[in-house]
């Protein structure tokens, strides 16, 4: 960076050190957690496939199951222990770490700027572009550390060196691309929430693109090549180690970095790219509920739109699943399992389950608004009026519950419509998939209640709800693989959602979720009633 005492990059190193210092716990915690997750999962699967024959059988089964291919991708070398045991970690893991990096980078760019803290620094000896440069360097260092440790972890559990390095590289590059993309998003929006939303939307899009692309016969379709997560898969660690593919994310990074700086230099501190319009001189917000709706509607509309578009796309590929089942033995095997319909249903059920977990994230974001309103001081304004604390909290919480249900219903209906159009039964499929999605509402509500409980008792720990969600996802994906006890698996509310379509609905577990959720929420409200309003 610039060595002169003026210019836009002065102070980059100071800012970088400051950012690393602020994250000295959270960054190592994420990196170590992710590395541990990937290493343990290899350690757990290694002994399941003692010889090449068993690996080939398992790999063929995965490659022939479209639901798994769409979710995780293909095993590109059926004999490779690394490729097989890491199948769940390649695309899925890359998406997970990318989410973490989006949060981290927005935290050091737009969040700082929005809070006004950055102004304090930039008015000093720090150049205009230095905070962004520091955040991008942070993404580079963080992803490099993650990649190196991941490679080391895989090596340590006994996988070949080249593949371990390729896998670490694939992960690091995905984190880097989305970290830098978050840096671009932070230049576009005024709020950190908006920037995180853009970043997450990009990840969801990348994941969907590769899901659809991977469903093509043989080599992945061109859609996979548009996706940074697809690139991570196509490096094919332990299955050819195609190093040249890593040029794609590097090129993407090389394009995104100047874009971010150009956007930065085109706007003022604190503003986005689009200047603010004037608002109304008098207000129509007619009370607390009106305020909640006003503050939350943009996020709800974005989620609804994303749910409908992605639901439709994913729903419409479900039918293609049967095209993959061409070998006669496979078909015979499947007939035994219940036939083609079964497989399509399993695919749809997997989609709805994942969707339910993602909407659990929406529930978290929506209830976490309470904490944001409190720490920004807006709650002081509202709660010094005749509004009671209970009504204030319930207004946002109630909205979060309704909105969560609405997003799930809309997404379920869209999956049903996408699938229904391709099989010529739109009405029936919409009804079937909507009710499948409805069954996932209670688990998402439990997530909302958990955030409320944190808000009531440990307001500063509200962001920890995202960590809880990550733990639940990992429990669901790997818990049985790691042979964890049932009660541990059952800690995740998502473990109690039925697999629909295809399973009998156990009303008991849904009612159980609702009761537990209500109890947790009530507990949260008790805490909120008794505590100080904190900054």
């Amino acid at each position: 960076m610039s060595r002169t005492r003026s210019g836009p990059f002065v102070g980059t190193w100071t800012m970088l050190r400051f950012a690393l210092r602020r994250d000295r716990i959270i960054l190592p915690a994420w990196v170590i957690g992710l590395v541990a997750m990937v290493s343990f999962s290899v350690a757990a699967t290694k002994d399941l496939y003692p010889d090449a024959q068993s690996r080939i059988e398992a790999s063929d089964a995965i490659n022939a199951t479209a639901a798994l291919v769409a979710l995780y991708g293909k095993v590109y070398d059926p004999t490779s222990l690394g490729a097989l045991s890491l199948i769940k970690m390649t695309a899925f893991g890359a998406a997970l770490i990318s989410v973490v990096f989006v949060f981290l980078i927005v935290r050091h760019t737009r969040t700082e700027e929005e809070s006004g803290r950055l102004e304090l620094l930039v008015s000093g000896v720090v150049g205009r572009s230095a905070p962004l440069a520091a955040a991008l360097l942070y993404a580079l260092l963080g992803s490099a550390a993650l990649g190196l440790l991941t490679a080391a972890g895989l090596l340590a559990v006994g996988l070949p060196a080249a593949g371990s390095a390729a896998f670490g590289l694939a992960w690091a590059l995905s984190a880097l691309v989305f970290g830098v993309a978050a840096g671009v998003a932070a230049q576009l929006t005024v709020s950190h929430r908006g920037a995180i939303g853009l970043g997450l939307a990009a990840i969801a899009l990348a994941y969907t693109l590769r899901a659809v692309g991977d469903l093509a016969d043989g080599d992945p379709g061109w859609l996979s090549w548009l996706s940074p997560i697809g690139w991570s898969q196509q490096i094919r660690p332990f299955a050819g180690d195609r190093w040249w593919v890593s040029a794609l994310p590097l090129i993407a990074t090389a394009i995104l970095v100047p874009v971010a700086f150009a956007l930065r230099s085109r706007r003022d501190l604190g503003s986005g790219l689009i200047p603010d319009r004037l608002g109304p001189a008098t207000g129509r917000i007619d009370g607390l509920v009106g305020l909640t709706v006003r503050l939350q509607r943009a996020m709800l509309v974005a989620w609804l739109a994303a749910a409908v578009v992605m639901g439709f796309v994913l729903g419409s590929v479900a039918e293609n699943v049967s095209g993959l089942l061409d070998s006669p033995q496979m078909r015979q095997y499947l007939e035994l399992l219940g036939g083609k319909q079964m497989i399509v249903d399993a695919f749809l059920a997997a989609e709805v389950s994942i969707f339910g977990i993602i909407v659990g994230g929406y529930a978290i974001a929506s209830v976490a608004r309470l904490r944001a309103e409190e720490s920004s001081g807006h709650a002081d304004l509202v709660l010094s009026t005749a509004t009671t604390r209970m009504r204030w909290a319930l207004s946002d919480f109630g909205f979060a519950l309704l909105a969560t249900g609405l997003v799930l219903i809309a997404g379920g209906a869209a999956i049903g419509l996408g699938h229904g159009v391709s099989v010529g039964d739109p009405v029936g499929q919409v009804a079937r998939m909507t009710s499948a999605a409805v069954a996932h509402i209670p688990a998402a509500w439990v997530m909302a209640a958990l955030v409320l409980a944190l808000f009531g008792w440990l307001p500063r720990a509200v962001p920890g709800a995202w960590g809880l969600l990550a733990v639940f996802v990992v429990l669901g994906e790997f818990g049985s693989l790691w042979k964890l006890a049932d009660w541990v698996l059952g800690l995740s509310p998502f473990a109690h959602s039925p697999t629909l379509p295809g399973e009998q609905v156990a009303a008991g577990s849904l009612i159980g979720l609702l009761v537990v959720g209500a109890a947790i929420a009530a507990l949260g409200l008790v805490g909120w009633r008794r505590r100080d309003l904190a900054g």
Binding site: G283, H378, L383
Partner: protein, 294 residues
Amino acid sequence: MTDVITLTGVVKRFGPVTALDGLDLTVRQGEVHAFLGPNGAGKTTTLRVLLGLLHAQAGSMDVLGMDPWRQTAALHRRLAYVPGDVSLWPNLSGGEVIDLLGRLRGGVDPRRRDEFIERFDLDPRKKGRSYSKGNRQKVALIAALASDVELYVLDEPTSGLDPIMESTFRESVRELRADGRTVLLSSHILSEAEALCDRVSIIRDGRIVESGTLAELRHLTRTSVTATIERGADGLADLPGVHDLVMEDGRVTAQVESDAMPGFVAALAGSGVLTLESHPPTLEDLFLQHYARS
């Protein structure tokens, strides 16, 4: 006259930090009461405790005849608050915020609202994020002043206002007082307290160290006196209420409490006073004395 606010022995701790340490505060009905004290003395904490936003660990509180922690909403119906650090929703316009807060307080009088917007020269169409600090404060002030309540609690209401807006603010507060309403405002600005307030309370380290009218507080401070005398006056230093007496070559300087003044002057006269200068305490002295004393 009844008391609108009575706090007795209020203690508020934040973990190891004791922000309020047995605070007593009385605000009478219909007065404008200034709450003064150095940074970190506990002014904001006191105001938030008496609004029921914070829960005090000890002490008794009576605000408009209610317990702020238990009857928070009922109490808030009868008061208006402006926080010291006003933060607005970035995407709501000033007009929307004013109307929203008014409605949440139980209704807005559009005429009063428009009058204050006019007087404070605010563009209500701008979004929260594009207001300057002073304008953000104006939004909260207008929302409070335009509401029809008995008690106004204002935390450093003028800290971001320019001089013209400050005088508009003073005018508005005088009108409130003329209407029989009560105002409690915290401030660092001495002239504001002097121009506006009936009584002041000075807080230091979480306790009230002085409370009363300005005249009463002045009375408590010392006048500095310089005199030249013909002959030595041995008893001067021993007079009660005389401090820091220095006598050199017939020149005497001393700090004299108001009550001790007659005796001190008489003693000087007995020593053949040639010149006499006395400086009555300025408000500045009064505050410096309280702010700086450790």
